[in-house]
Amino acid sequence: MVTVLAAIAVLLTLPALVDLIRRPDLRRVGLRNIVRRPGEAALVVLGSALGTAIIAAAFIVGDTFDRSIRDIARTELGPVDQVVRVTNVDDLDDALVAIEGPGTIAGVDGVLAITSIGAALSNADATNAEPSLRISAVDMDAARSFGADPSITALADVPAPGLDEIVINTDTRAELDVEIGDLVAVYAYGERIDLELIALMPSEGLGGFSDAYIDPALLDSVAAEPPLGAEPPSALVLVSNDGGVFDSTEDPRNVRRIETATGDRLRAAGIDHDQSPQKLDILRDAEEEGDELTQIFSVVGGFSVVAGILLLVNLFVMLAEERKPTMGVLRAIGWRQGTLVRSFGLEGAIYAIIAAAVGALGGIGVGWAVVKLTQDIFATSGNDFSLILAVEPISLLQAALTGLVISLLAIWVTSWRISRLNIIRAIRDLPEPVTARGQLLLSVGGLVLAVVGVALLIGPGLGGKSVIPALAGPALMILGAGLLLKRWVRNDLLAVAAGSAVVLWGAFWAQILPKDVTTDVELPTFLVLGIILVAGGTAIATVIGPWMRRLLDLGSRPATAARLGLAYPVARTFRTALSLAMFSLIIFSLTFISVMSSTLGGQDDDIVTEISAGRDMMVDANSANPIATGDLTDLPGVASASPIIRAVPRWSADFDAESIEDPDRWRLSGIDPGFGNTGAPQLELRADRFATDAEAFEAVATDPTLVVVPSWFLAAGSDGVEVNLQDRVTMYTASGFTQEMTVIGVVQNDFTFAGPWVSADLVREQMPGGFRITRHYVTATADTSADDLAEAIDAAFVTNGASAETFRHRVGRFLSQELGFFRLLRGYLALGLVIGIAGLGVTLVRAVRERRREIGMLRSMGFPTGGVRSMFLTEAAFIGFLGIVSGAALGLLTARQLISGSDALDEPLPFVFPTSALVLVVLLPLIGAVVAAIVPAIRAARLRPSEALRLAD
């Protein structure tokens, strides 16, 4: 991608660079135009640089997530590439021998056996506790030399703990606030054991894989007889592939080969096991997550970038109009049209190159701010995932090149367009007339656009079931038809008709296009939709100006400043349309995101009702030390507690998404008969034979062949896959048992990560060693506050690693993260608003220069300074107001249609009007537009009439 961009950038820059060196006349004109008005040149660069900064920031956010997730490979795995979970802990030594085999598997540089349990840890007086940690036992000598590079194990200087000793990592030490020599309490399988802390290890490599290490004999004795429902120790064999932390997975085929070879050896030895290439999975997730976030921020930033392009075109059109007589003279003395294009291109290329460099560097700051805000959002919603700012030079280069190519394309096309002038008309500053040839070209262009539109709709759109061409095709058809009809229909009527048709299409496309085209709406669709709608809305808005002028004429008061303020934008339709579209696009996207945000935020009550199953809270506990149901119900304030069995078998289904391995591990929830008596999670789909959701859940509890699944089970909902009633699902246990089940219900929101709901009896019978009772749904007594009870449960069962959370709190936490993300996107879009406002300011600064003569004349005639100021402020307010209103209206309309009136989203949601957000979205930019106009307005008003007339001449 970078190579292609670089090639295009070189192609577009080369003519300017050649001229810079070989054409002193072009160089003089170009450079002197830049230095003549350094302030305005700086503003042009700023407008363009902001676009590049937005692109760079999108890449930086993606890189940061990529690096942060990839860093998990370093902090939690180190040399570990593959984790083999041996079903029976007694088979661990045999598994190790089997994998090591008579000869090492090619590409493997280390194999290590490790036993782990989940436990809670606290300091000696239990004032600081960590409820859910992994404690392991390992042959420390073997661990230190595990893999080819002992330094990445992080255990190089760590001594082996004795029977009454423990080693913990630095993260755990920080939570417990203990020092070497202090006692650390370990809670597992109902016991408390006090151990002396003898060493700290970095939270990296094996020091991150497990939070603490104890003596193997001690672990064996602690876990000798796990109570029913508690997770027995995990017996793991860790496999290190050749290489260090990251290069060991560079070739995924090699990783798969080693995984297969490992599995073959274990099967040959008759050892039950599960395998997962954890590092490869993490790194792949990192890449996917990074790419996804880059895409989100690129698309959202795309609105700002398009606004930046509009600004750039607008500035160059203004520049050309201002210099038209000079250009005419240059043509008269022998400059060719191509020379004019190159002269403009040279000046623009210098702006573009500086802007690309400044923008890419500025993007680091923007990216840093986005990452910082994201980290804050994670922190407020209880997510402790740590982001590490990553600024990859290649990303900066790509952003700079993207910005450069966009700017240069806009510059060259505009330069070519404006250089097509008649010498005499240019010198005399007369408009270019519409010629028969021009009209013919317009008609041909319209025809071509219409044909392209039809081809896009029928070919990749309806034929290829791709939503973007299906959406863009009809819009191009309307635009083409408009151009074709231009010679016969009045411009204003045509603008209203074509604009309305485009807006209607943009609002109702999701209902008009076939469902199989609209079911998989990708994020870039919204950028295309925004551009289409704003184009239509702008066409309509340009007609409003003349109507407003006529209204002013109807009044008795002269309102000279207002009339003059409207006269310019009304007369210069193209330039006004560019400014309007620039504002409208940003406001459209801000409004759209505000609606999505408010709609999502308004769902909390509904989601709580959906997931709570009539209870108040869920209580999770440490798998090695689960809470006994009786102990919970004995606690004051607990009215009832329903145990839920958790286990992680593998699953397949007839609706599997392609991205899912078959069969794939998925955690289930097992329920006993009577679970539905208090209530049940709400079902989005329910088999007809059940009158209520509770009845369906009762059927699941008693019939092992029935299952309720979440709507995204086995990645349904993506890849165009949907889960439906009567779908067949198969559960596979590690012991080889399989159970076919029929889907009788689908849960929409699985905020509790319940997974598929099945009969608890089935799990107990078929996975006797594999289930844990680590979750309870709890109801508080009528006189007890749910929040207070949650705190009381946490305090009472700290040694069980209890985590009690009311459903309301959980939903709020989840939504706050999503809403925070929406806020972040809004903030990111606000950068586009800066472009819009700065752009308006720049165009007005240039307008003042362009209109000096008129200002001088007006002042000579006695037009007061206040009138001149008002004239410019009216112009800014008019453009800002129209852009804002059209953008907000289009944003509301589109969001309303998508949220409540179409199948484009997973489920229709009730539309929530974003009142407070919309007030800000409308008012702030309007104030910004007027503020941006203040400086040029004051400058215009301060011009002395004689000076203005003299300078203009």
């Binding site: 008061r557 002269p558 310019y568 300074t865 009439p945």
Partner: protein, 238 residues
């Protein structure tokens, strides 16, 4: 509003003006005295760059002066605040420039309405008066056209209509025929003579000796000084 014929409406004394650009100083007016009576048609002549336009700008109050006084209707206009001076111009003066300086985005009629709007004349009355004035300058059928759709002569006639529509006491004309062919220029001068005969004072800067001779007085400006102020003559200009 016009004054009785012969009454002094402008008295300028010891007016100086120097243009400064960095360290460069260019004296444009070096102590100018001038009187304008109502009904005067004064042509200002002299070589380029000797201060003719500066004289017009300083006397009309659209430029500042360094020293001296300019009294119009007894008021020292350079002692006024900018707002009052601006208001004074709106009520008492009309301007015609060589390059017309019409507002390109307004029609001929709307251009003529602008000074009336500044004076607060209602839209309806302004429209009527603009139409009457355009009819008077022979452009009744071109009133909806924008400046770019008019010839140079037509544009200048619109500019004259705009200058006259408020019936100002003084009309300042800076090379009003400079951009026009001789036939069109003649028509414009006839129009100004007609206005002057109706009692309005006109101060016209011109390079054209023929036009310079038509006034009631001629003023010759050289090196920032008035070297002649008397009956129309073109002697000693160059």
């Amino acid at each position: 509003m016009m004054e009785p014929m012969g009454q002094n409406i402008l008295r300028a004394r010891e007016v100086t003006k120097t243009y400064r650009s960095g360290k460069l100083e260019v004296p444009a007016l070096r102590g100018v005295d001038l009187d304008i009576d109502s009904g005067d048609l004064i042509t200002v002549m002299g070589p380029s760059g000797n201060g003719k336009t500066t004289l017009l700008n300083c006397l009309s109050g659209i430029d500042t002066i360094d020293s001296g006084t300019v009294h119009i209707d007894g008021d020292e206009i350079h002692a006024m605040r900018d707002g009052a001076r601006t208001q004074h111009r709106a009520e008492r003066m009309g301007f015609i420039f060589q390059s017309f300086n019409l507002i390109p985005v307004l029609s001929a009629e709307e251009n003529v309405e602008v000074p009336l709007g500044i004076l607060g004349v209602s839209n309806k009355e302004a429209r009527q008066r603009a139409q009457d004035m355009l009819e008077r300058v022979g452009l009744a059928d071109r009133r909806q056209n924008r400046p770019r759709e008019l010839s140079g002569g037509e544009q200048q006639r619109v500019a004259i209509a705009r200058a006259l529509v408020t019936q100002p006491a003084i009309i300042w004309a800076d090379e009003p025929t400079g951009n026009l062919d001789s036939e069109t220029a003649g028509a414009i001068i006839d129009l100004l003579l007609e206005v002057n005969e109706a009692g309005q004072s006109v101060l016209m800067v011109t390079h054209d000796r023929g036009i310079g001779a038509i006034g009631t007085r001629t003023v010759h400006v050289r090196d920032g000084l008035i070297t002649y102020d008397g009956a129309p003559t073109t002697d000693g200009i160059h």
